[in-house]
């Protein structure tokens, strides 16, 4: 390096640095100021979802739900004097960005956080929520013992129990397991192994595929060698759809069960017109019109119609988790609770139970997750979800 004048460079660095900090600093300081002023007026709820990136197939509907609720809240106006503001961050399926977003939300003084689309991300942001002792409304299954975590999603075993009931009823003993190699794909098998042992179902084959792979015929051929009586697939779309298509083109006739991550429009489009023996564990939300009359049906219908009117597409189970998470906080605010502490003991001791769209929530022990009454096995007939009695 020629006799470059390095000294000047660093002072230049100084300017850029301060410029950057001032820019961001001012942005957040303005926010913290108004937090202090009208604390009573505004209650902030943080939401962390994956609107972009691979997990957006689930997170996108969640982001829409948040926009829908914010619109409804603005129309309703303040609830007994308190305005509710939803602050949403898209972590782009990148756990580090989720952690940064969590810090941002905490520094903006949110009273609760609803999120995250994936299990691994929820685990990442969990310690931050515990540190700031604000309630975390987990919209993905997590294994933790922290008491400020409220599991809105179904635990893996609740979801799989739907499939196991079908297997027991139809006396299917030999099952093959196939899952994607990502945060969602890996959580299914351990839960299924336990249930399989209880009902002496034998797992004859286990194959995995890369979440972004474009062809799974090799895995399916390996499975065919073990000639199973049914196949269970644990993966998000588009992987889930590609496996289903390969499954049909290889001429399998045995039933295939897909996880809740496949219970969305994208999957139906992928298996168009070729989905007779494919069943998906989904929410009653997808088949609400075919449900027998009940007040659960009325509640689900209200959310579904509002969502379709706003976005022109069907909400799915993951949208329901986000919806339930936010509604719980709104219930607390309706009861006049505006701080993180009050909200938590309102949920635990006063509300106790809440008929959420994902399924009834027992808030006295919030880590069990939603009950199975919100789930059902869905079939696909002429490109529509079919309620399976």
């Amino acid at each position: 390096m020629k006799k470059a004048v390095k000294g000047r460079m660093l002072l230049a660095l100084l300017i850029v640095f301060l410029f950057g900090i001032a820019g961001c600093g001012s942005q957040s300081t303005t926010q913290t100021d108004n937090k202090g002023k009208d604390q009573g007026k505004v209650v902030k709820i943080g939401v962390i979802v994956a609107e972009t990136g691979p997990a957006s197939t689930l997170g996108h509907a969640q982001a829409n739900t948040v926009k829908l609720i914010q619109k409804e809240l603005d129309q309703q106006g303040p609830i007994n004097g308190t305005k509710i503001q939803l602050i949403m961050h898209d972590y782009e399926t990148n756990d580090t960005k989720a952690v940064i977003a969590m810090d941002k939300l905490i520094s903006e003084g949110v009273v609760a956080v609803v999120g995250a689309t994936q299990t691994s991300t929820t685990m990442a942001i969990l310690p931050k929520a515990v540190q700031a002792n604000i309630p975390l409304m987990a919209t993905a299954p997590v294994s933790t013992d922290k008491e400020n975590v409220y599991m809105l999603a179904h635990s893996s075993s609740t979801i799989i129990s739907q499939v196991v009931d079908y297997l027991v009823k139809h006396n299917i003993k030999k099952v093959a397991w196939l899952n994607a190699r990502d945060a969602f794909g890996v959580i299914g098998l351990p839960a299924f192994k336990e249930l399989a042992k209880q009902h002496d179902i034998e797992i004859v084959a286990h194959e995995e595929f890369d979440a972004t792979a474009s062809d799974m015929t090799v895995q399916l051929t390996n499975i065919r060698k073990k000639n199973p009586e049914a196949v269970i697939v644990w993966s998000r779309t588009p992987g889930a759809g590609i496996v289903a298509r390969n499954f049909k083109s290889l001429g399998f006739t045995i039933p295939m069960f897909q996880s809740t991550a496949a219970a969305n429009k994208g999957f139906i489009e992928q298996v168009q017109g070729n989905s007779d023996n494919i069943m998906v564990v989904g929410s009653k939300l997808s088949v609400v019109d075919q449900l027998p009359e009940s007040d659960q049906k009325k509640r689900i219908l209200a959310f579904r119609d509002a969502y379709v009117k706003e976005f022109g597409e069907e909400p799915d189970l993951f949208a329901a988790h986000a919806y339930d998470g936010i509604q719980l906080i709104i219930e607390a605010v309706k009861a006049g609770k505006t701080t993180a502490k009050d909200i938590q003991n309102f949920l635990k001791n006063e509300l106790k139970e809440y008929p959420a769209i994902s399924g009834t929530l027992d808030l006295t022990n919030p880590l069990k997750g939603a009950k199975a009454d919100g789930l059902t096995l869905l079939r696909i007939e002429n490109n529509q979800w079919k309620y399976n009695q």
């Binding site: 062809d215 015929t217 090799v218 759809g241 083109s249 489009e269 992928q270 168009q272």
Partner: protein, 290 residues
């Protein structure tokens, strides 16, 4: 026996996808000496624009050419604005610029087409074909034919037509080529347009199998890269064979070792190739004169 056949068929199917991508890579590298990191994104634009055209009501045989032309125009625009002005910069700068281009196009794809995957109906609506116990998806047959067709067309184009040999000349020795009256700058523009069109064809062929999302470009682009290195950096037939070989290696390693590590094995093969024969299986070694 039918197991081996099935792995072979799957390998060739996936391999022909990689071959399609590798052809695009080789075309640009052959003419401009640049390994274009944005080649995967051309495939994405081709696939998604084709889906949009179909949704607009265009029949398949009109939507596909329209998508190819659109991507070719984008390839041309990219070359003119970004690649040409910096063509004699260092390799590292060029790599970073093509990464910038690929990120930019991916962002555009995200804003225009959103995040949900879109399916493209296969051109031929036929049931799966049984052959020696292995099941072949008609779409992969179609891809296979496209690869062979492209191979022939490009062979004729590069070896037999004037423009083709002019393109090759301008890469081997730009100064000598320009002395012969070949306008090397328009050659590089032609190379990019051609490669963009090839990328679009690859995208459109692949979409019915793997669905199209704004992110599809990255992985198949990378595999196209690997196929090109295995096959041979400076000839198209080498790249196609490289692609097919990579597909078969992946399928058999998936079948017999473990589907888990088949990707790792594919990239392991790449590393072995880079050590022992960096210029690829089918190209002559070029010494470096001191």
């Amino acid at each position: 026996m039918d197991l081996v056949m099935q792995y072979l068929v799957t390998g060739l199917t996936v391999g022909s996808i990689y071959a399609l991508m590798a052809i695009g890579f080789v075309t640009i590298y052959n003419i401009t000496g640049i390994l274009n990191f944005a080649q995967g994104e051309f495939a994405m634009i081709g696939a998604l624009s084709c889906v949009s055209f179909v949704n607009l009501g265009l029949p398949m045989f009109a939507a596909i050419p329209a998508a190819i032309i659109l991507t070719a125009i984008i390839g041309f625009a990219v070359e003119r604005t970004v690649i040409f002005p910096v063509r004699n910069r260092s390799v590292i700068t060029l790599i970073v610029i093509t990464i910038g281009v690929s990120t930019f196009i991916k962002g555009l794809g995200l804003i225009i087409w959103g995040t949900s995957p879109r399916t493209l109906q296969p051109v031929m609506k036929m049931g799966p074909i049984q052959l020696l116990g292995a099941v072949i998806n008609p779409q992969s047959l179609f891809i296979f034919l496209t690869v062979l067709l492209l191979l022939a067309v490009l062979y004729v184009f590069f070896d037999k037509t004037f423009i083709g040999s002019a393109l090759r000349a301008s890469e081997k020795n730009p100064r000598a080529a320009s002395l012969m009256g070949i306008n090397t700058s328009s050659m590089s523009a032609l190379a990019f347009t051609l490669a963009a069109a090839l990328g679009a064809i690859a995208g459109i062929m692949i979409a019915p199998l793997t669905d199209a999302t704004y992110e599809m470009g990255f992985l198949i682009g990378l595999k196209g890269f690997v196929a090109m290195v295995i096959g041979g950096v400076n000839n198209i037939s080498g790249a196609v064979v490289g692609g097919l070989l990579l597909g078969v290696i992946e399928a058999f390693s998936g079948g017999f070792i473990s589907t888990f590590y088949s990707d790792a094995i594919a990239f392991g093969v790449l590393l072995l190739m880079l050590f022992f024969k960096p210029t690829g299986l089918f190209s002559k070694a070029t010494g470096e004169r001191v």
